[in-house]
Amino acid sequence: MKKSLILLVVAMMLVLAACGSTAKKENGTEKDAVAKKPEKSEVNLYTSRHYDVDNELYKKFEQETGIKVNVIKDEADVLIERIKREGTATKADLLLTADVGRLYRANEEGLLQTVSSDILAKQIPENLRDVDDMWVGLTKRARILVYNKDKVKPEELSTYEALTADQWKNRVLVRSSESVYNQSLLASFIEINGEEKATEWAQGIVNNLAQNPEGGDRDQAKAIAAGIGDVAIMNSYYFGQMLNSEEPEEVKVAESLGVFFPNQETTGTHVNISGAGVVKGSKNADNALKLLEFLTGEEAQSEFASANYEFPVNQNVEPSELLKSWGDFKEQDIPLSALGENNAKAIMIFNEVGWK
């Protein structure tokens, strides 16, 4: 009986291993069999970007190059941990994250290798690449202010810092500090203004909150429409989503709000950068580079812009009509690695000032 149990377990293992490999095959059925033939013609992605547009682009890349793109999606930190534990044996070739702060962390752990090429250098501006070429930016979203057009005149708005003034008491809306976008925002203030000023700012925002932080970015916009507060800090990407929502009421809400890029006269609007780095020990580093070049190329970048309301990093690509309609804006100019460096500090400040 013991034998039969062991047999059962072994059989199960074989079946499962087989299932795992068929899963790969089945997803690749769209692709013609010929293109799949050359061995190792694949690239393995660990990504925390989980958007349909990404999948479309991977498919396009497969069709153009014959390189199969395999994907595992999860939170960036979990993926980093998996790579770390897998060590040099890892199957991952490329790590994509929705926020570069996490790439910094992966690099600190020694999990990335340099990635550079003339094409990348041409397609991505220098400030959106790591100084040591450990990773590159893919897309940008701006952390903007949206406001109630009836109650707030755009002239009243100026900077993130100004929202801590008394006139905004009980009028400010923002989501919880668990959002990586807020963590990066505060991390950038630590870099620009120093820890003390950054703490003051966080405290000031907490004092002026219209309600306890709750929900996602979209919910902050809705709270303005509902009359709970007058101005919200949110991500341009989500605002774009709302304007194009299937739910007419969401569109109505978004249309009733004004968009404002803060800190134009001073340090510039904070941008969240989504980026990617090649994993150390990658067995398909060439393919990974090819994919990066593809994703920062003009075709992919304009897809990101039009389908996903992200700002392109490739300067040859125009933002989508919608993004352009909000006007040009000045971006924060800080070394991107600072966002990752200051992330833990930012969390501590959030906890100390009671920003939930």
């Binding site: 009986m1 013991k2 939170e75 979990v78 963590q183 299937e246 009421e249």
Partner: protein
């Protein structure tokens, strides 16, 4: 001579192997308690730990209270009374279990928020703009509401099976002693169903403790928030594991207290005289009330969210890529089916071992596997990855011998994911199986052996058929749980292996609940079919 040794042999070896496998990953977490304190620890203690524990305890206490009230009252109504719609409600009241709580949270928020159907209708058709504060569920009471709605079936299911099978003579004798229904409920039903209530409620409590989706979305800070803030925010996984380990410690403490409190009051099943409780037919106002009560619960916990999801599916029709839906559904069914099957097989082996080796240690050991269920799945996932990569390293010479070119084989296959499911959900399946073994006792087993059947033949010919109900219900519970499972699935799956749950999560985590509705609805659909089949199979079981 040790008197236990004679009866054991293969069963013991199998059971001990299984238990070790189940514990292995947890060990790496438990040892985290003793890891040295990092520089972040003081900060965690001062600003996170104690406040977060408070809200966790609030959530746990009230959710447990309300799930017990709702679950027990429904179980009692269904087990003892006949009223219109009873036969439908009997199984339909389990269905809310098929909705993952975080999807429930997004859906309910979607219904009542500013752009949701209620406020929208009031605003656009009645020109009423209500105070938005009335429609805020993103707070502690809101989270309790969500957890209660989607978790009460645990209490309902376990208690109902107990009441309808076990209580007949006790309740009838109470009736003949002239006791009214209320008195019977409080003096007889409540005390005798204590064990099953606690069994169901402890599953609820563990689910609430390990949940992250709902509290993250609602902006509530709980113990799991602390774990994630520490890991994702501070980047300090060791400290996060230490936190998780202390959470396990708290759970062990609660389990021990519960056991001590229970003391000798475990009501054991009578072995052969199992008689169903005859139903009392309700008439008039009482029947209306009973039907109304079940309909209200069913609507709020299932029908309303489902209608909203259907509405969203229609709204986003054509916007969400449909071509792969069958592929995801198939994947979901495969992993959930395999996972549940293995959990049940392992539970049977361990359960039989625990019964045969009639020793305290053999009873308590399997119970401890519930620990893995108390901490967030993603922490378990890290432990599983670590274990499997170590296993791959260990097996490396074998891979080389077989001519494989990769160092990682098991840890990039579906095997790792399924194993993780088994580790996480073993306690759920085992709970059912153990109850089944308790119910049949050892007499039939002894009788079979006296008729010359060996251990294995007895197991397949006597134990398994007699435990059909327990086996099916355990299978369904685990199956539905795996269908809903997210954190393990996300990180442990092989490349490109999407399931319905990962698809739903992908959209929902990006605040695209409408796009998530399609996959969510399919999870509910598959679960509903499973629960319905379960109901049918149980009904056909000869009494």
């Amino acid at each position: 001579m040790n008197k236990h040794l004679a009866n054991v042999n293969g069963w013991t070896i199998g059971a001990v192997l299984i238990i070790i496998l189940l514990f292995l990953p947890n060990v790496s977490i438990v040892t985290g308690v003793f890891s040295p304190v990092s520089e972040n620890w003081a900060h965690i203690k001062e600003f996170m730990l104690f406040n977060y524990i408070k809200s966790s305890l609030t959530l746990v206490f009230f959710t447990a209270l309300f799930t017990i009230i709702i679950g027990l009252s429904l179980a009692w109504l269904i087990a003892q009374y006949d009223f219109p719609l009873r036969n439908f409600m009997k199984w339909a009241l389990i269905l809310p279990l098929s909705i993952p709580p975080f999807i429930g949270a997004y859906t309910y928020h979607g219904i009542i928020n500013y752009t949701g159907v209620i406020q929208k209708t009031l605003r656009n058709h009645f020109d009423v703009t209500p105070n938005p504060a009335y429609f805020d569920i993103m707070n502690v009471p809101g989270a309790i509401f969500i957890y209660t709605l989607f978790l009460y079936p645990y209490v309902y299911m376990i208690t109902r099976i107990f009441l309808s099978h076990q209580s007949a003579s006790l309740i009838e004798s109470a009736r003949t002693l002239g006791k009214g229904p209320l008195e019977i409920f409080f003096k007889v039903v409540l005390p005798i169903s204590r064990v099953s209530i606690i069994g169901g409620a402890s599953l609820v409590v563990l689910e609430v403790l390990n949940d992250y989706g709902v509290v993250k979305y609602f902006g509530i800070q709980t113990f799991s928030t602390a774990i994630f803030q520490t890991w994702f925010g501070l980047g300090d996984l060791d400290a996060a594991i230490k936190l998780a380990a202390s959470l396990m410690g708290i759970v062990i403490f609660i389990l021990v207290i519960e056991r001590l409190l229970r003391g000798g009051k475990q009501f054991s099943y009578s072995t052969t005289k199992v008689r169903p409780l005859p139903l009392v037919r309700l008439k008039g106002r009482k029947a209306v009330f009973a039907t109304l009560y079940t309909v209200v619960i069913f609507s709020v916990a299932f029908l309303i969210p489902i209608l909203q999801l259907i509405d969203w599916v229609i709204l986003t029709y054509g916007k969400v890529p449909m071509q792969d839906v069958l592929f995801y559904t198939k994947n979901s069914v495969i992993v959930a089916g395999l996972g549940a099957f293995l959990v049940i097989v392992f539970s049977l082996v361990v359960g039989n071992f625990s019964r045969v080796v009639n020793h305290k240690f053999a009873k308590i050991l399997p119970k401890l596997t519930v620990l893995g269920y108390s901490i967030p799945g993603v922490v378990v996932a890290v432990a599983v990855i670590t274990t499997f990569i170590a296993l791959d390293r260990f097996l490396a010479p074998v891979y080389q011998y077989l001519g494989m070119d990769s160092e990682l084989v098991l840890s990039v296959s579906l095997f790792m994911l399924i194993s993780a499911y088994v580790i996480r959900f073993f306690a759920i399946g085992y709970n059912s199986i153990e109850t089944g073994f308790d119910k049949i006792g050892t007499d039939f087993r002894d009788a079979s052996r006296m008729l010359g059947a060996n251990s294995l033949r007895t197991f397949f010919k006597i134990d398994v058929p007699m435990m059909k109900g327990a086996i099916i219900s355990g299978f369904i519970l685990v199956f539905v749980d795996i269908l809903k499972e997210i954190p393990l699935t996300l990180i442990l799956r092989p490349f490109n292996y999407d399931t319905l749950a990962t698809k739903a999560f992908q959209y929902a985590s990006d605040e695209k609940i409408m796009e998530a509705s399609q996959a969510s609805l399919l999870i509910v659909g598959v679960s509903t079919i499973a629960i319905f089949v379960f109901h049918k199979l149980l009904r056909e079981e000869p009494k």
